[in-house]
Symmetry: C2
Subunit: 419 residues, 2 copies
């Protein structure tokens, strides 16, 4: 009962061979034969990138690191190059250690946007944070490469452009976020028009149980402790504000081609049910697992197969015991509504929101503004944006323009009472 | 992303037309066009049969009742004939009301085994309890008819014969039990060899919280009150003893072609998660819904489509709040182990067990033996069976022979201390 989106494979660029078992009436069994998938990792030194390498290490006969791209952590990148011997390397910074590491494996240094186009890249894992992954993702999709996307900001900023590139290149987009991977898995073997609702689960973030006055006094150190997931800094703060969940609602609309009114957020403290889909006939499907990003990463890399062993401890439901569900507190966590609203508006709104959020989180982590001011900054920037001219279908240059504008604006928003 | 098991359709006998949208490289979109599915309901006056008619009533443009088969409830059958105007009727009993009802709609009276073979029967819903549905199910499958099977005893007694008939006729078997429907739905778009474990959920039955001494004193009236499901008498008692769950483990092995060691039972009081599948990569999928049999019934009738509206109230997870999971208490409910053991042994064991259970439950409902004696009777009959000659691959006559033998034996087992 294999589901294979064969139209999502550009057979010209795709090195795997498929053989049809010749079943009657157009029903074929497709098999992936021989060879390893050659993976380009964008953001290899980040949390997703490191966990991707963890997964790849477990299956040396199935996966190969063909390219590594990173930003500022040159020492770690040098180490990764040493261990995985990629053919291509992209790095925002360069130093002598990194340089000699690149030389020692005879890797080629090329920009991230070009790296994804190399003919021997079979799949791109877009694991950068922020907007850095947007252009390479679009470029890869345009030439029909499958992209495993963990870079939610790219989808939030310019989901419409990513979808266009996907259609243009006849490529494929595999979700890596645990929630979207869950939805994706629930949709295998289903028809898109049967989706009634997508139910995104939210752990509620680090401060789900804090009183209002405590929320105001939250420190960056507190915000960086997530109750169930182990992730990067920016995303952990976004989890605490529920902005992460808000961005995921926008992500879901683009990944699964559903309008925002079909997306709902359900509070689920234990982060075991990663998300659910309700179908037209009232049936609900859910995907569950321990909270470990290696599971959705492996799922995306392996698609359309499932790997023969788990990358993380297995779920023991009887021991887990109790799963709780509830409604998110929109009053106390206004970022969720800000994001869903921006997603409904579409056009340049989500890009403005994502950029404003990135700066607001930076300012919070730098001790410049309070936790509760993050929403205020974003709201202020969105308000300002609504007074200027918007595009409902912005081209990339316009997206990058409002991105720059929103960052500048978000830096300058002054918050009464903050340092 | 439609999954269509096209090999499960015998296009010769199947009246639906499919058209291929001609996508590239062997990827087709199949559409079911025109016409209604003509359904034969075996056991139309039972709990499953009545709920099936409920579902059919909601979709007069999609479903049609072509045949009704029932046992002893002639008055209700007469009423159903009046309302649904079937072309064929089978009834174990006959009276003047029923006779005139059959005449009034010009229906043809034929035995259940022949009724399923009528060329204008598109799908058979096997909703009888006990062994009555076994032969018609096998006959229908042999000629390639899809069978929606709620009749778990048939699968337990002779799952190997049902699978053989399925292969011989190139027909299809759709589960109707809520647990198996859940597993089935979780497997759409998946490959069978990726199944690591099937996790059958069990509400724990009416007496999950009773102390040992209370269990001994349970009355038939108490046993007939199930905490979450509204079902027939026999199955409700089987739920209370966990024999129902035990039979479901055997059912699962045949429906999904997995060995018993891949099937586990998880206690889940709320009956909202209907079952789960754990895959080779550690990912777990679950199907959820309100506890209402019309949902799996509709799902089986509609397959490979989903119907556009739910047959029952929709699940509100946030309101449901808490879902609990645990391990079943095998000590206090020995029927679960008896069944899983019989299932592992295979051959004639499951048939002996199912027959002994049917009689033991009858004796309990008649006030002849105590609740806790049900397991004792079954165990005794199984022990006796192990001393005689068994067949590991019994033909139907042998199955029916051990069935008769086990019934006789179960009637004669005397229980110390019972009335």
């Amino acid at each position: 009962m294999l589901h294979l989106d064969i139209q999502n494979y550009d057979l010209k660029d795709w090195k795997y061979l498929y053989r049809a078992d010749g079943e009657a009436q157009g029903s074929y069994n497709w098999h992936m034969v021989s060879d390893r998938k050659r993976i380009a990792i964008l953001g290899s030194t980040g949390s997703i990138g490191r966990q991707t390498l963890d997964v790849i290490k477990q299956f040396p006969d199935r996966f190969e690191v063909i390219a590594l791209a990173a930003g500022r952590r040159t020492t770690l990148l040098a180490e990764q190059i040493h261990n995985f011997k990629p053919r291509y390397v992209a790095s925002a910074l360069m130093d002598s250690t990194l340089e000699s590491s690149i030389e020692s494996v005879s890797a080629q240094r090329i920009p991230m946007e070009e790296l994804v186009l190399a003919p021997d890249v079979d799949i791109v894992l877009a694991g950068t944070g922020g907007g850095a992954g947007l252009v390479p993702t679009i470029e890869a999709l345009k030439v029909g490469k499958p992209v495993a996307i963990a870079n939610k900001e790219a989808l939030v900023m310019a989901g419409h452009l990513i979808r266009k590139a996907l259609q243009e290149g006849n490529g494929a987009l595999y979700p890596v976020d645990s929630e979207h991977s869950a939805i994706w898995q629930c949709l295998w073997g289903e028809e898109d028009h049967d989706i009634r609702r997508i139910l995104l689960t939210a752990s509620g973030g680090a401060f789900r149980d804090l009183a209002d006055e405590e929320l105001a006094a939250v420190t960056p150190a507190q915000a960086l402790k997530h109750p169930t997931w182990n992730m990067g800094d920016k995303i952990t703060v976004d989890c605490a504000t529920l902005m992460n969940k808000g961005m995921e609602t926008i992500e879901a609309t683009w990944l699964f081609d559903v309008p925002m009114e079909r997306v709902e957020v359900v509070l689920h403290r234990e982060s075991i049910v990663h998300s659910l889909v309700e179908f037209s006939d009232g049936s609900v499907k859910a995907q569950l697992g321990v909270p470990d990003m290696r599971l959705p990463i492996q799922c995306a890399l392996a698609y359309p197969d499932r790997m023969p062993k788990p990358p993380a401890p297995e779920l023991d439901l009887a021991t887990a015991g109790t799963l709780n569900f509830g409604r998110p507190d929109i009053e106390r966590f206004p970022c969720l509504n800000l994001a869903m609203h921006a997603g409904s508006e579409g056009g340049t709104y989500p890009a403005v929101m994502a950029a404003a959020d990135e700066i607001a989180v930076e300012r919070f982590l730098a001790g410049e503004i309070r936790f509760i001011d993050i929403a205020t900054v974003i709201e202020h920037v969105l308000d300002e944006h609504s007074k200027s001219i918007q595009s409902s279908d912005p081209v990339l240059a316009e997206v990058l323009e409002v991105d720059a504008w929103a960052r500048k604006k978000a830096k300058s928003v002054s918050i009464a009472g903050s340092s």
